[in-house]
Every structure is written in structure tokens, then in C-alpha cells.
């Protein structure tokens, strides 16, 4: 069937089963918008392109499907960059479609021209500049295939205006044939056998699992394997939900803000089974103290992740689910009671905790209450910093795809648009963005998107008037010099101030009035006894809600391992 290029792109989205696209129109991408407008695909107009790409990312993380976002050329495309990099670091499948100036104007510094292919090359899994309308069906097919298979990631399709209005034959290919791209799925049986030999002879085994388990939909297999063999489990930030947070075998998150039990286990284990985790510096701390006595088995879909940071004894390249199924077949209960009991005792004696206060709201208490009042059933997104760590600590994630957070890139402003994406995917579920007062302002304009699309997203701002994690580091490592981390500081304030108190100027903006200005509901909570009621009200409300919790201003995230220190050098607070 003959049709214009822009329509081909829309047809391809239909073939891929895409139900929603997040985007923002502009000159060169208008033909696409004209066609999608006539189709039965939901289009969510965000207020900034970065909101669109984060929303597509949140949608992808919540569903496991490919998220799609669209922007125009030049500034539209460059506004996607942070979101594409976010998805790339966390291996999230996204197809980003950008407009481009006509082919014969490329390179001429045309209006709204940017070399987005060049700019995005290091932060995409792959990208295409479409030069011929006839290539569109193949390119779209490949883009979706590459985004979702292997180690997933963002794929960018740059669509020049003249290509999108040129006409060609549309026949969507059934198969993909890319000679340089054949991801390995099933693990090497011999390596699996060798790994199981190590498992059987281990005295102090530990499973260290990451986001790859969620990507591979291998949570069930991981849980079955760990329970069958009785091996304790720690998860990375990205892995939260991959193994039930309430399971007795779960030691908590490891790393810079890991639990004492998890970090101790990582130090003392004699066998580390790493699954879908990449030995990131925030998880390992100083490498010489990370599992120094352990043999390491590493299961990962990406060979480049293996022996990148830590030399691995048994690498198994492939799909975590397939490999865990194989391992499960020969798994048996291990006689490691003393190791397990030791860790359980450490876990019991060193729980995540904070000093309760009946006068001031503690941020940890807010997260605990959200956990309690949603019955642990909510989808939680986070911003980045203290809010992210408290959301990781005080909400126990029993299921995958319920904790959506920018782990690798650490993108402030991620959580709210991601919550929009998750809520679009699951209109009936409770979605909370656990935010800081700094982060939320990076993408606050998406309130309009949430309100106009009638998305009952709840934003819980843990408002301490600071860029909290920066302030915490300044307190601990920079002689308590609060340099530009106070968000209340005005011209009239002293230049040097590390003593926030009652005389501080009022916070800007007033989040309650801001919510109301957007047509959302705003609730300010100043006292601990009102926290529960406010959360209940937000959950029950069909509106987009901002909960502005005025929390203890100088609360710190503990436990903490200083950057570059060994994982066992834990500050308890």
C-alpha cells in the first residue's frame, strides 16, 4: 500500500502493538502528528520533551513493553537527551522518534537543525537516520527489535521532513535480519554445570541480583531458586522487587546505602552469584573489599558487563530466566544453616531505622506510611537523592516493576513523568512519586499533563528545603558548609549559613497553591499525626495530588558507606 513516510511510521507503531505515545510536536515532525491524530493510538502531550521520554521510560519499566516518544528536530530532539541517557544506563527499551530537517538541508545549520544522531550516539543502543522512505518499514521493525531484545536500550529514529512526506510502499517485514546483532539467549550448559558445582560446595553463598532479573522477567525463577537452595539474597537499587522484600532470605539492598547485613554478606561470602547486575561502583564500594574471598559466578545478557569491574570465575552469558530455570533443575537445599543464621541475626540486630519524632515529620515515616496504607501494592517512582534512598529503604517491594527509579544516570526530575507513564499503563493502580522538593521542580510542569489526562498520580514531596543528599555530603565531608544546597536561601540571607531554623524565609514555590493553579489537589502536612490521613485522602482522590510534607530539615540517609570506601566501612548515623 502506498502512503507517506509519516503514515508508515504510525502504521509501524500499530504493527508493534503500541498503545500510547508520549510527545511534543514541532515543525519537522508535524506530518507524523497529523497521521497519529487520525489513528486509535493514544497520544499524551507533555509539557517538555524530557517529560515525554521519561514518561515513555516509566511506561516501559512498569509494563516491560517498549516505550515510545516523539519530538521535533533541533531543541525538541536535544531535550530528549537526558531521558535517552537515563534509559540507556538502566537498559530500558525505548524507541525515540525525532523530526529532522530535509535531507538536502542537513549540515547547513538550518532552522531547528541539530545532529541528534551524533549527539545521541554514545547514549543509544542504536540509531537510524532515515534517508529513503522505502527504508521506513525495515528501520521501524529493527528499531523495536533492537530496543527490546538482548540487553534492552533506547533506539533513536531520526526522520527528515522530506522523507516523512515522500510516499512509498508499506509492507511491514515479519522478520529481522541484522547480521551484526544476534543476542545469545541460552547459557552455556557446561558453565551452568560448573556454577552449580560451586553452589553445591559453597559454605557462604550469596545471590547479588540487579535490574537484569526484572528485565528478563526472571523474578519467579530467582525466587524459586533462592528459596529452594536457601541462599540469602541482596539486591541492587535497580533490582528492588526482583525478589520479595518481605522474604526472610532478603538481606536488603547492598552498596553505598545498603543494609549492614547485605554489605557484610557481600564482604564475607565465599560464593557470589551475580545475576543481571553490573558491579556498579555504588553497589560495590572499593572493589578490593567487595567479595574478596569469593568465587564469582556472573549471569548477564551482556558479555561486556562481565569482568568489566570485577574479574569473574564463571561467566554465563544469556537470558537470566532461561539460565535460572536450568539451575533450578539441579538445585537442592544447601547445608548452610550457620551462615544463614548469622546473617539473619545481623539483619535482626541492624534493621533500617531512624529516630522517631512526635513533633517533626520524619521523611522515613512518610514512606513507611505510604507502604502501610497502600498495602505495599503501589507503583513507586522516585526522584534522585535522599528521597530515592528512603523510598528504597522503607517501602518493601514484593513484586517486580513496582519500583521505578533512575539508578545509573541518577536523573533528578525522572520520577514524576515516569509516574505519569506508569499511571497511563495502569489507570487503576495507586502510583506515588516519592520526591524531594529539589527534584520535583525539575519537571513540575508535567502537572498540566497529569491533570489534563486525568491521571491520579500522587506526588509525595519530602520537603526539607534542601537538596538533601548534597546537604548530607556537605555535612559529612565538607565541614558542614551548605554551599548552594539550601532552596530557601534568599538575597537577604547570609552567604554562609548552616543553621536552618524558624527565621528562614518562606519556601518558594508554595506547592499547594502551585498544585491548585494547575487544577491539581494540594495538601500540606506539617505534623506527624496528619501524615496518614493525608496519604489516605490522596489515595482516595481521583485527582492528581501533591502532598507537601514539611519534614525534618537535616535528616540523613543511613547506613552510608562513603564514596570510594570499602563496603564494610559503614556509617550508621
Amino acid at each position: 500500500m502506498r502512503m507517506p513516510g509519516a503514515k508508515m511510521v504510525v502504521e509501524a507503531l500499530k504493527h508493534e502493538g503500541v498503545e500510547v505515545v508520549f510527545g511534543y510536536p514541532g515543525g519537522t515532525i508535524m506530518p507524523f502528528f497529523d497521521f497519529i491524530h487520525r489513528e486509535d493510538i493514544r497520544m499524551i502531550l507533555t509539557r517538555h520533551e524530557q517529560g515525554a521520554v521519561h514518561a515513555a521510560d516509566g511506561y516501559a519499566r512498569a509494563t516491560g513493553r517498549v516505550g515510545v516518544c516523539v519530538a521535533t528536530s533541533g531543541p525538541g530532539a536535544t531535550n530528549l537527551v537526558t531521558g535517552i541517557a537515563t534509559a540507556n544506563m538502566d537498559s530500558i527499551p525505548i524507541v525515540a522518534i525525532t523530526g529532522q530537517v530535509p535531507v538536502d538541508m542537513i549540515g547547513n545549520d538550518a532552522f531547528q537543525e541539530a545532529d541528534i544522531i551524533g549527539i545521541s550516539r554514545p547514549i543509544t543502543k542504536h540509531s537510524y537516520l532515515v534517508r529513503d522512505v522505502a527504508d521506513i518499514p525495515r528501520i521501524m521493525k529493527e528499531a523495536f527489535h533492537i530496543a527490546r531484545t538482548g540487553r534492552p536500550g533506547p533506539v533513536l529514529v531520526d526522520l527528515p521532513k522530506d522523507v516523512s512526506v515522500a510516499t512509498g510502499d508499506f509492507r511491514y517485514p515479519e522478520h529481522v535480519d541484522i547480521r551484526g546483532y544476534n543476542p545469545v539467549v541460552s547459557g552455556n550448559p557446561q558453565a551452568i554445570e560448573e556454577a552449580m558445582d560451586l553452589v553445591r560446595s559453597a559454605k557462604r553463598p550469596l545471590i547479588y541480583a540487579g535490574g537484569g532479573v526484572i528485565t528478563a522477567e526472571a523474578s519467579g525463577e530467582l525466587t524459586a531458586f533462592a528459596r529452594k537452595a536457601g541462599i540469602p539474597v541482596t539486591l541492587t537499587l535497580m533490582g528492588l522487587g526482583a525478589f520479595p522484600g518481605t522474604d526472610p532470605l532478603f538481606l536488603g539492598m547492598l552498596g553505598m546505602h545498603g543494609t549492614v547485613a547485605a554489605n557484610q554478606a557481600a564482604c564475607e561470602c565465599d560464593l557470589m552469584i551475580a545475576i543481571g547486575a553490573r558491579f556498579d561502583d555504588r553497589a560495590t564500594g572499593r572493589l578490593s573489599q567487595f567479595a574478596p574471598k569469593a568465587k564469582v559466578v556472573h549471569i548477564d545478557i551482556d558479555p561486556a558487563s562481565i569482568s568489566k569491574n570485577v574479574v569473574v570465575d564463571i561467566p554465563i552469558v544469556g537470558d537470566a530466566r532461561e539460565i535460572l530455570r536450568q539451575m533450578l533443575k539441579s538445585a537442592e537445599p544447601l547445608p548452610i544453616d550457620s551462615w544463614r543464621e548469622k546473617l539473619m541475626a545481623t539483619k535482626r540486630d541492624n534493621p533500617l531505622t531512624y529516630r522517631k519524632d512526635c513533633a517533626v515529620i520524619k521523611p522515613q515515616y512518610v514512606v513507611e506510611k505510604i507502604y502501610e496504607l497502600t498495602g505495599g501494592e503501589a507503583i513507586i517512582t522516585t526522584e534522585v537523592g535522599q528521597n530515592q534512598m528512603w523510598a528504597a529503604h522503607y517501602f518493601r517491594y514484593d513484586r517486580p516493576r513496582t519500583f521505578l527509579s533512575s539508578g545509573g544516570l541518577g536523573t533528578m526530575g525522572y520520577g514524576f513523568p515516569a509516574a505519569i507513564g506508569a499511571q497511563v499503563a495502569f489507570p487503576d493502580r495507586v502510583v506515588f512519586d516519592i520526591a524531594g522538593d529539589g527534584s520535583i521542580q525539575m519537571k513540575i510542569q508535567e502537572l498540566a499533563t497529569a491533570v489534563l489526562n486525568e491521571l491520579p498520580v500522587n506526588i509525595a514531596i519530602l520537603n526539607n528545603g534542601f537538596l538533601g543528599m548534597v546537604r548530607q555530603w556537605q555535612e559529612l565531608f565538607f565541614d558542614k558548609a551548605y554551599a548552594f544546597s539550601c532552596l530557601e536561601q534568599r538575597l537577604s540571607c547570609p552567604r554562609h549559613c548552616n543553621n536552618p531554623g524558624n527565621e528562614c524565609p518562606p519556601y518558594v514555590p508554595d506547592f499547594v497553591r502551585l498544585a491548585e493553579a494547575y487544577g491539581a489537589k494540594g495538601i500540606r502536612v506539617e505534623h506527624p499525626e496528619d501524615v496518614g490521613e493525608a496519604i489516605r485522602e490522596a489515595i482516595g482522590s481521583p485527582k492528581t495530588v501533591i502532598l507537601d510534607f514539611l519534614v525534618a530539615r537535616e535528616e540523613n540517609v543511613f547506613p552510608m558507606v562513603p564514596a570510594g570506601a570499602g563496603i564494610n566501612e559503614i556509617m550508621i548515623g
Binding site: P122, H126, I178, G180, Y181, V311
Partner: protein, 170 residues
Amino acid sequence: MDYTLSVLVENHPGVLAQISGLLSGRGFNIRSIAAGETEESTVTRIIMAVEGDDRVIDQVKKQLDRLIDVIRITDLTRVPSVDRELALVKVSSTLSRRAEVFQIVDVFRAKIVDISHKSLTVEVTGVTEKVEALIEMLKPFGIKEIVRTGRISIARGEVVPEKGGENRTS
């Protein structure tokens, strides 16, 4: 140590930029890089000389292999191969010293490919060490300009050894 990788890539625009960007972005050291079409018009071969140790090169290979446009990577470092580099060297040479230059060029089986009143251009082909030895010998005459292709290599015999192919993926 110097490693030689022979990389087959799709002959797409931007693929060389992608590869050099990846290598510089991840902090790998490239001695030289040479690209050219192959017996198949849709495929380009890139020969790169990379500095590092076994672990670094392992990462280089794996990271290159992640690129969708990379079809195959062959590590020629430890297999018998024919290695060549071509250099053009412009040397100052007055009439009185020309004979000396000619002699040196002769010893190295190089060629004089251009000549003027004040300079000579020497073309030399061979392994990197030979090229460098000749350049060293020509230095006393005054080298005005050097143009080098970078190393290209091909495995000896009929079989093309494959390496880095066993772990293909993402």
C-alpha cells in the same frame, strides 16, 4: 602492548564516527585506525592498533561487539599475519646529499615518488618497525612532512581466525 583488531562493519554513514567515539568515550588508546571497503561493497573493514593489556583489549572487543553495525571482530595480535603500513616522507635534500638519501631508500626497498630542487618524497611500505627505522634514518636530512596510513593486517593462510565471535550479543 600493541594489539591488532580487524573489525568488519556495515558500510553505513557514521559507522567510523561511532567506533572512534566509543573508543575515546571509554578511554581506550588507539595507535592507528585504517578503514577501507572489502570484497563485499556493503562491508567495511577497519584495522585498528590498540594499546593496552589483555583485560583492556577484552573490553574493547566486547564493547565494539555491542555495536549493532559491527559484524565481526578478529583479533590478529597472536595469529600469524601479514602487517603493512605505508608512509610518504618528504625530506629536504639539496643536490649534494641526494645520493645519500637514494642509498638509504634503496636499502629499505623504498621508492622515490616525487622530486624537486629542495626535496624528495619517499614512499615506503612494510611493517611498522621498518617504516619507523627508515624515518629515523631520514631524520638527519630534515623531514618536512610525514603521512602514514596506519597499520593494516591480514591473517596468513586460508582460514580466517575468529575471536570475540563466541560471545556475540546485545
